[in-house]
């Protein structure tokens, strides 16, 4: 008969049960319910907060065009350890590239020639090899006779902290460590490169 009585007990839908007497069990039940509700809302809030953070992070990395250049360290293919902090006082041209990247080839020669011209004028060129293999990278460097310091960006750490969108991408860092300008894609004009270099001369 239990089910029947239950059926009969059903409130007439629109009215909530009017039993306001609080027995201890009921109070405990209500406390438990309140706790569960808190947990559920908390979890949902945390999830939403993460989504907000994720979205923000993505926007930040998209718009990172200026501000302080994040520090990074790397070891060149010749075995020399270099960090950005060591280069304080010089203008730094930081170029991300990869040997599998066809557009990179469009700027490789221009960068190398300009480096040769500028290396005694307080400007350093640095090439960070993004997601690449040493064999292929060395071959690429030999092909374009690249002599400025180049090394693998291990685990893409620099690439991530600079928020690059792809390769090639080049950052122009002033002697006091600020990103002065940024080029996404290959740099094809000497004039453009010179203009940007002028901004970061010590």
């Amino acid at each position: 008969m239990t089910e029947m009585t239950r059926l009969d007990e059903q409130p007439a839908v629109s009215h909530a049960p009017a039993e306001d007497v609080l027995t201890p069990e009921k109070a405990a039940h209500q406390r438990r319910m309140a706790m569960w509700r808190l947990i559920i809302v908390g979890v949902l809030l945390a999830f939403v907060a993460f989504l907000v953070l994720g979205l923000q992070r993505q926007n930040v990395s998209q718009q990172r065009a200026s501000g302080m250049a994040p520090d990074f360290e790397f070891t060149t293919f010749d075995g020399e350890a270099i960090s950005l902090a060591d280069l304080a006082g010089q203008g730094v041209v930081l170029n991300f590239w990869a040997s599998w990247c066809d557009p990179c080839r469009a700027e490789a020669d221009l960068l190398e020639q300009t480096w040769r011209r500028e290396q005694n004028n307080g400007i350093t060129f640095i090439g960070l090899d993004y997601l690449d293999q040493e064999h292929a990278a060395l071959k690429y460097m030999a092909e374009y006779d690249i002599t400025y310091p180049n090394g693998a960006d291990i685990q893409s750490q620099a690439a991530r902290s600079y928020g690059i969108k792809g390769v090639p991408e080049t950052f122009f860092i002033s002697p006091d460590g600020k990103i002065q300008s940024q080029v996404i894609g290959p740099i094809v004009s000497q004039a453009d490169l010179d203009r940007r270099l002028d901004e970061i001369r010590p």
Partner: protein, 661 residues
């Protein structure tokens, strides 16, 4: 000019949908028939306006109006007409417009179906559907601009993404969107019943039906998506646990859980709160999925170009998550169970276990999809969560689910006694054990595929037994001949037997997945013309290459003859193909060459070529045919379940009808 009108139409639709939301909500609150009627009119008006806007965009695409940024970006003169038509959903703005169009289509369908019934619910239903439309219209008006124009008219467009220029890619998004968008309807009814406090058995029936329809489309869409990946991407697989694939799979999981647990509520009046939660979760996952694929928050090969829709989506997501939770908490006292469980050995308990597994899998998939984001925010390190993780975590759960799928139907409602249990399980169990033993001895000693295939067989055996017993019982009761009995059984018990056919489809898919996961054979070869490679007892001979210019692409086709019996018998010459598109030469697409056998697919991909040799990836994919057959069965079974019952054509709709007062 006409495109200015297009954007104006969207603005008008935006205003009307907002007005309709307010009017519907207010009408439901005050029980005003005038306000309610106005909300119906708003639904129709929004649908008309959005349709007109879509027609204008279609006109732009078909008539090569390249001054439209959207058309310039996603079409070109030489694009085949068919793809010009489908380019409507090929890009961000157009696909959001398409979403809105389908949503307003569903809204009209619901409004027409229930215009004289469900008087208490409908104003709220209209309001909920309209607020969703409103949100998408906000995107279209303020963020993505489908009718943005250039000052001049470019001579030719950029062309459609080559990957989208495929027959499956035309039909598959429609199906997927029909599924996704349709899942708004059950949510609208859930909200309406909570708002109106009409929480009887009434909305349950409506919602079950209106969940089943989008569920069918969603299932078909997912299967077709896999088919596309299998035929076009040419990596030998059909499912990569990519964020976008997961986004379509997540609501499918919760909707499936809901379709099972709603039966308990319908029959026994239990799990009312839980069902509300599932409907809501499904809808939230749909919006979340759209959000993740549009905002670029997760990286995916399928992602749309990034745009600034993210914050809008996030705002809407927050609105639907928290307002519903608040509403649900507020109405909790009205959602008490009417009855209780009788025994663990009952179908109710089986459904509970099913829900536990489905939501568990859904959680795991959600977690895996978003974990890279969590991890990067917290540790700053980038990791990937791909197929190995998903297979390891969800694999055992799916196996358990399959076992449950076999056990569940054998349990009666309320309680099954021990001797009945024995009676039910003897044959399927014996058969499965025998199969497992034979498999172990003769085929392979790998544990997971053996267990998985055994579970598949077990489920099949129980379903067959169910049909047999049902037919026998019906014959005993009515004396019909076996065919009539089967027919009547499906006709009158469509929900149950349609469900079994869906299960059968799932079993076939399961078997195909196991075959592909564990027994695939593959080789990568470079063949000179006339040279052969051997794989799995077949011989593949490269005969030559042809190049042919079609509308907007060059088709390179290699001819590969497949021989059986070590080259003795020619089976078929297949022609794996590469299309190089004039506008996107760096994105060659692949058409694989397939010879389909019931036991396995012989699958040849053309990787590259030179003057007299070509490189191929060759796969022998066991049982893949059954994946698609299973998909067909799922749709078929759902249709049987949906087919109106011969008697209950017009179920009394008690909630009320307009009164001539």
């Amino acid at each position: 000019m006409i495109f200015h009108i297009g954007s104006l139409l969207l603005v008008i639709a935006l205003v009307v949908s907002f007005f309709g939301t307010v009017v519907g909500y207010w009408g439901g609150r005050t029980r005003s028939a005038n306000l309610a009627a106005s909300s119906f009119h708003a639904v129709y008006a929004v649908a008309g306006l959005v349709l007109a806007a879509a027609v204008i965009l279609w006109y732009g695409l078909l008539a090569d109006q390249f001054q439209l940024a959207y058309v310039w970006n996603h079409s070109e003169r030489a694009l085949p007409l068919f793809y010009k038509f489908s380019a409507l959903w090929g890009g961000q703005a157009g696909s959001l417009l398409f979403w809105t169009l389908l949503l307003s289509g569903y809204s009209v369908a619901v409004a027409l179906t229930f215009r004289t019934r469900q008087a208490a619910l409908m104003p709220f239903v209209n309001a909920t559907l309209l607020i969703t439309s409103f949100f998408f219209l906000v995107l279209l008006v303020f963020s993505v601009h489908p009718f943005e124009q250039y000052e001049f008219r470019p001579a030719d467009g950029q062309g459609l993404n080559p990957l989208l220029q495929n027959y499956w890619m035309v039909i598959h998004p429609i199906m997927l969107y029909m599924g996704w968008v349709g899942l708004t309807v059950p949510f609208a009814f859930a909200v309406a019943s909570l708002l109106s406090k009409k929480l009887g058995n009434n909305w349950v029936r409506i919602v079950r039906r209106w969940t089943l329809i989008p569920w069918m489309f969603l299932s078909a869409g997912i299967i077709m998506g896999s088919q596309w990946a299998y035929m076009e991407l040419g990596w030998g697989g059909y499912w990569a646990w990519d964020p976008v694939e997961n986004a379509s799979f997540l609501p499918w999981l919760t909707a499936t859980a809901f379709l099972h647990s709603i039966i308990i509520q319908e029959r026994r009046g239990m799990l009312k709160v839980w069902n509300m939660v599932l409907v809501w979760l499904t809808y939230v996952l749909v919006i979340l999925g759209t959000f993740t694929t549009r905002s670029g928050i997760l990286e995916s090969v399928h992602s749309f170009a990034q745009s600034d829709v993210g914050p809008y989506f996030l705002g809407f997501l927050i609105l639907i998550i928290f307002s519903f939770i608040w509403l649900l908490f507020d109405r909790m006292p009205l959602l008490r169970s009417e009855s209780a469980m009788d025994s663990v050995l009952s179908r109710e308990a089986a459904f509970l276990a099913n829900n536990w597994l489905f939501t568990g899998i859904a959680f795991a998939v959600l977690w895996g999809t978003f974990f890279p984001m969590f991890s990067e925010i917290i540790t700053g390190q980038r990791i990937s969560v791909a197929a190995p993780w998903f297979n390891k975590v969800t694999g055992p759960l799916f196996l358990l689910l399959f076992v449950m799928m076999g056990i569940g139907p054998l349990l009666g409602w309320r309680r099954t006694s021990a001797n009945k249990l024995r009676e039910q399980f003897t044959w399927p169990l014996l058969l499965s054990l025998l199969f497992a033993l034979v498999y172990w001895l003769l085929v392979s000693k790998q544990f997971y595929p053996m267990m998985g295939l055994t579970a598949c067989l077990f489920v099949t055996a129980t379903i067959v037994q169910e049909f047999l017993r049902g037919v026998l019982a019906r014959r005993a009761a009515t004396g019909e001949n076996p065919f009539t009995a089967t027919w009547q059984l499906m006709r009158r018990n469509g929900q149950r037997y349609g469900g079994y056919i869906v299960h059968l489809g799932i079993v076939l898919i399961g078997a195909a997945v196991i075959g592909n996961q564990f027994y695939v054979q593959t080789t990568n070869v470079t063949l000179a013309q006339g040279e052969s490679a051997d794989l799995a007892g077949y011989r593949f001979t490269y005969n030559g290459l042809s190049a042919e210019h079609q509308d907007n692409r060059v088709e390179y086709r290699a001819y590969v003859s497949i021989f059986a019996d070590d080259g003795a018998r020619l089976l078929r010459t297949v022609s794996p193909q590469r299309n190089v598109y004039d506008k996107n030469p760096d994105m060659p697409t692949s058409e694989v060459g397939i010879y389909v056998l019931p036991s396995e697919d012989l699958y040849v991909v053309l990787n590259g070529w030179s003057e007299n040799s070509a490189t191929f990836s060759i796969f022998v994919n066991p049982l893949t045919l059954w994946l698609w057959v299973g998909g067909v069965l799922i749709v078929l079974g759902t249709l049987i379940a949906l087919w109106p019952h011969p008697r209950r054509k017009t179920v009394p709709a008690p909630a009320g009808v307009p009164v001539r007062a």
